[in-house]
Symmetry: C2
Subunit: 204 residues, 2 copies
């Protein structure tokens, strides 16, 4: 573990890794603090409790990830030339950039876990703090797909979200062919996901 970073940062990085590997319950504070090279009591000292640590793991990544998403969305939302592709790009690209980062490459896996676990407390935390992001994207999808009923739109967004979350949680796991660069691979993946999402959202 990086011994130059601060204790809080080392704990967050080790927690992200272990939460991705073993889940929130499965990763103990003793494994976690040992991997981070800090004392066991450091978690409760710096974060208050294990639950607060979990929230902070999400906050560290989602604050900037969703800020990037909204920044990209604001550049295209409501504009005349905007298409489904450009809106989906605003949603997908920041997530895959984070996954390619090396630093945050495991976070999408953690997010997929929280997505599958129907834990009420965690869902409420995510909804309260980041629900407005999905709401803004949904509004733009509704504008670009005027033929769909509200119910039909929610259905399709739910399905697309499930597919993207699942796919992005595995990004970085699959070995890419040696003759393409990381950037090229990412662009191809983004194109894949966008085409799939467009087909799922806009089929007749």
């Amino acid at each position: 573990m990086n011994s130059s970073a601060s204790t809080k940062e080392r704990i967050l990085t080790a927690a992200e890794l272990l939460f991705a590997q073993r889940g929130f319950d499965g990763a103990s504070l003793r494994q976690l603090t040992a991997a981070a090279g800090v004392n066991l009591a450091a978690v409760n000292y710096h974060f208050g409790s294990k639950d607060k640590l979990v929230e902070e793991v999400f906050r560290r990544r989602l604050d900037t990830l969703n800020a990037h998403r909204l920044a990209a969305l604001s550049k295209v939302a409501g504009q005349p030339g905007t298409t489904l592709e450009t809106v989906l790009d605003a949603f997908i690209r920041p997530a895959l950039a984070l996954s390619s980062d090396g630093s945050g490459s495991l976070f999408m896996r953690v997010l997929a876990r929280a997505f599958a676990e129907h834990d009420d407390h965690l869902r409420q935390f995510l909804s309260e703090n980041y629900g407005h992001v999905m709401r803004q994207f949904t509004a733009e999808f509704a504008r670009l797909l005027p033929g769909l009923s509200r119910e039909e739109l929610y259905w399709r967004i739910d399905l697309v979200t499930g597919a993207l979350t699942h796919a992005m949680s595995g990004f970085g796991m699959i070995q890419r062919k040696g003759d393409v660069s990381e950037a090229t691979h990412r662009e191809q993946t983004i194109a894949h996901l966008i085409r799939f999402a467009v087909a799922g959202l806009s089929h007749p």
Copy 2:
């Protein structure tokens, strides 16, 4: 809890509910046996260990679910009039029938959990025992989509699987409009999922 069923059956039913609600680690054998109305030691007596119980929870549902899927697939696979829709129907309909059963309505949620948790032991168990099912469906998809490369096909199947797993894990949660019957609602959902999957698999 149903006190007329056998102890093993009562344990499996209570385990399915609690695994869906709290996860495999989160549900303790004490909560589980209390909910089932059986003694704490009954789990280790009848199943050997908690891990074996988890496997049995999957086996009880997946044996019949996948048998139904393969039976439906064998009726259409390779036939001249077969389309993507009929193959997807063979895959989706048995799962939603199980979800509508009342008895097994929570199992798809458990399956979605196992899907998100990248637990090696559980994945190996599922792959060894039920991997041939997805292999047969994949072969039929490949036959119906000759224009796609193997890599492209795997990509799309992975995305569709993620979407369907996510959607079916929430089936039964959403309140349906009061004027449609359970059967009608299920048919509409199947139609929804099939159309989405067809669009995701076959877009140009």
